[in-house]
């Protein structure tokens, strides 16, 4: 596929110095993010979803595998020019707006810090203009530039975090749980802002979250990750309508739905890794239906294909 903006190829991340202490957080994970789409990465705590996000923005080192940006390798040692491009074009939005802003800096500095790092302005007037534009874009007033983070509410602080990413004119935004620390009514505001910005600026998102209901609303495709393995990847509605992997099914069954009737009837599935028989043949990454990938061995895949065919035959 040629129009992939970002390609993650057999990414492996290990922590711990000695072989004894080694912990593999991400196990040979591969996926592609297309230009203009919103790609969701969903998993529980400890699944490695954040580690993948951090590897993409070059915070975590890779143990093996590679990450490509428009076909060029950006993992490992890369040239200064490319590093600068990546720093500018891939930006991150963090989870907790209470912790991710420098309390002792004014909004003006927080928002333009990235510009200082890459020398992204010719003079002070240009920098000021850029800060103003970024603040307006996220629905804040330009006057706010002279204030400190503590003067803002949670929702406004998250907007500052988004403005700080936008000012770099990025192409890919890695949003790591951008709304889970916010109140219900503020969540809607931030979600609306993110999709507005996507339409206006043609942004691509990698949306990392544990809350499947939010992910369903905002993403085009979803990858489900469990203990460092991506177990299933499909278009959002396909994944919700025809989940194949038992882990995906368990995760979907557990999301609380705001509908008492449905909620009181529901059955929760529990994922037991022992349900896979990998003694004869280990699992591999296979396409079960067009664009619908799942981790499984030959026997499981045959069953998954049958399941999908059956589901499509009887709507």
């Amino acid at each position: 596929m040629s129009d992939a903006l970002l390609t993650v190829d057999k990414l492996r991340v290990e922590f711990g110095s000695s072989a004894k202490k080694r912990f593999t957080a991400v196990k040979d994970v591969s996926f592609e993010i297309m230009k203009g789409e919103t790609f969701g990465l969903v998993g529980e705590s400890g699944s490695g979803k954040t580690t993948i996000g951090r590897s993409i923005v070059r915070i975590n080192e890779l143990s093996s595998g590679r990450i490509l940006w428009k076909g060029k390798q950006i993992s490992g040692t890369i040239s200064k020019e490319l590093d600068r491009e990546v720093v500018q074009k891939i930006q991150m939005i963090f989870q907790d707006p209470m912790a991710s802003l420098n309390e002792r800096a004014k909004v003006d500095y927080i928002v333009s810090e990235g510009l200082y790092n890459i020398g992204g302005f010719a003079n002070e007037a240009e920098r000021k203009a850029k800060v103003e534009k970024a603040l307006l874009e996220v629905g804040l007033l330009p006057e706010f530039a002279s204030r400190f983070p503590h003067e803002f509410s949670g929702g406004q602080r998250q907007r500052i975090g988004i403005a700080r990413a936008l000012i770099m004119e990025p192409e890919l935004l890695v949003a790591d749980e951008p709304i889970s620390a916010l109140d219900v009514s503020i969540r809607a505001q931030v979600l609306n802002l993110l999709s507005e910005l996507q339409k206006k600026n043609g942004l691509t998102y990698l949306f990392i979250a544990h809350d499947l209901s939010v992910v369903r609303f905002i993403t085009d495709r979803i990858a489900v990750i469990n203990k460092g393995d991506i177990v299933e990847l499909a278009e959002t509605e396909e994944l919700f309508e025809h989940p194949l992997h038992p882990y995906t099914k368990a995760l979907l069954s557990a999301i609380p739905v705001p509908d008492p009737r449905q909620e009181k009837r529901k059955k929760i599935r529990i994922y037991d890794p022992a349900c896979h028989d990998y003694s004869k043949e280990g699992p591999s990454w296979q396409e079960a239906a067009p664009g619908h990938y799942v981790l499984g061995n030959a026997a499981e895949l045959a069953r998954y294909r049958e399941e999908i065919a059956g589901a499509h035959a009887a709507p």
Partner: protein
């Protein structure tokens, strides 16, 4: 399920806090009845007063806070007037207890979990030594901790998040309370673990027959657990009713806004309904309906006079002028109508 006389009855409760010389009115006249055996969910945003409200049932308000007026009737006594810790000790942990949000901070990291449960048993039931230990092991196995014999000698760091929350529930359950207050019991947990903890609380409730109050902002959890729901906004209960009334026939514009801002009910590629503005500053007196400034359909009277509680049904009350006969009829937003239509279809 609901019996006629309430187990706990709160009337016109006003709670104030003194913060650096300024007085904040956190609860502005809230009334609530809790019936034996039911599960009541209190829903609201942060700062709406839902935690402060329920903490007052346990005498756990911070030092700078006090019940200014109103009453909390429990077992024939007005506990709102309790001052001394001796009085509270007869209630707190014994008759009414609480499960806290974050199991990582609710437990003492320096004591074994067995000791932490025994502490409650010693204080309230006078058990000691071997008896307390055996009782603690018994409770641990009841909350689904496998191999409680050995686990009770372990420290909190040896447990996972879900298991720690089970321990917190065990401590709250130790004295077989009448009322269990669960303050965001699953917010810090993963979804699959969340489902297990909700199931556990439900199972314990039917075994021990206590009454549960959930405090949460997650409407999915509310739909799952609640028999009745109370929605709080700016220190008042603005709507309460059965869970079906609240989800399929909400009447207060804030309840509408809260439900229609949920991504689960939104339509993909369309903007979600978002509530404008922020809740009122409770350091200042609120005139009229506290939600009026954020309500796009607010009436003139909303800014002048506080609305009374209007009854929609014997179980459903709403504090909004929209319910007055003279107010114009307003259509609920599309997301609410869709939810209602889905409900009516399933009725047929």
């Amino acid at each position: 399920m609901a019996s006629t006389t309430p187990l706990l009855s709160v009337r016109d409760l006003v709670i104030k806090f003194n913060l650096r010389g300024q007085v904040l009115t956190a609860i502005r006249g809230a009334s609530l009845d809790l019936y034996e055996g039911e599960t009541l969910a209190i829903v609201g945003e942060s700062g709406s007063g839902k935690s402060v409200f329920t903490k007052s049932f346990l005498g756990m308000l911070d030092q700078n806070g006090w019940v200014d007026s109103g009453s909390i009737m429990f077992e024939g006594k007005d506990i709102a007037g309790y001052k001394s810790q001796d009085e509270w000790r007869r209630i707190r942990g014994k008759k009414i207890s609480m499960v806290f949000q974050d199991p990582m901070t609710a437990l003492n990291p320096l004591r074994t979990i067995g000791k932490q449960i025994e502490e409650v048993l010693e204080l309230h039931q006078g058990l000691s030594g071997k008896h307390a230990t055996l009782a603690a092991i018994d409770i641990l196995s009841k909350v689904g901790i496998p191999d409680a014999q050995t686990r009770h000698k372990q420290y909190p760091h040896e447990f996972s998040g879900g298991m720690r929350q089970r321990v917190v529930i065990a401590i709250a359950m130790a004295c077989k309370p009448k009322i269990l207050i669960c303050d965001e019991p699953t917010t810090a947990l993963d979804v699959t673990i969340q489902a297990q903890i909700l199931d556990l609380i439900r199972a314990l409730q039917s075994d021990f027959g206590f009454t549960t109050i959930y405090i949460t902002h997650d409407l999915g959890v509310v739909a799952n657990v609640a028999d009745r729901v109370a929605v709080m906004y700016a220190g008042q209960i603005i709507e309460q009713g059965t869970v079906e009334e609240l989800f399929y026939d909400p009447r207060h514009p804030y309840s509408w806004a809260l439900l229609s801002s949920l991504p689960q009910l939104g339509i993909k590629h369309e903007a979600l309904y978002a509530i404008k503005g922020t809740p009122p500053n409770l350091f200042n007196p609120v005139q009229g309906d506290a939600f009026a400034p954020r309500n796009p359909n607010a009436l003139n009277i909303d800014f002048l006079l506080e609305p009374p509680d209007f009854s929609v049904s014997p179980t459903h009350t709403v504090r909004s002028w929209l319910l007055d006969g003279r107010a114009p009829r307003l259509e609920p937003p599309p997301a609410i109508k869709a939810l209602k239509a889905k409900y009516e279809r399933s009725e047929q």
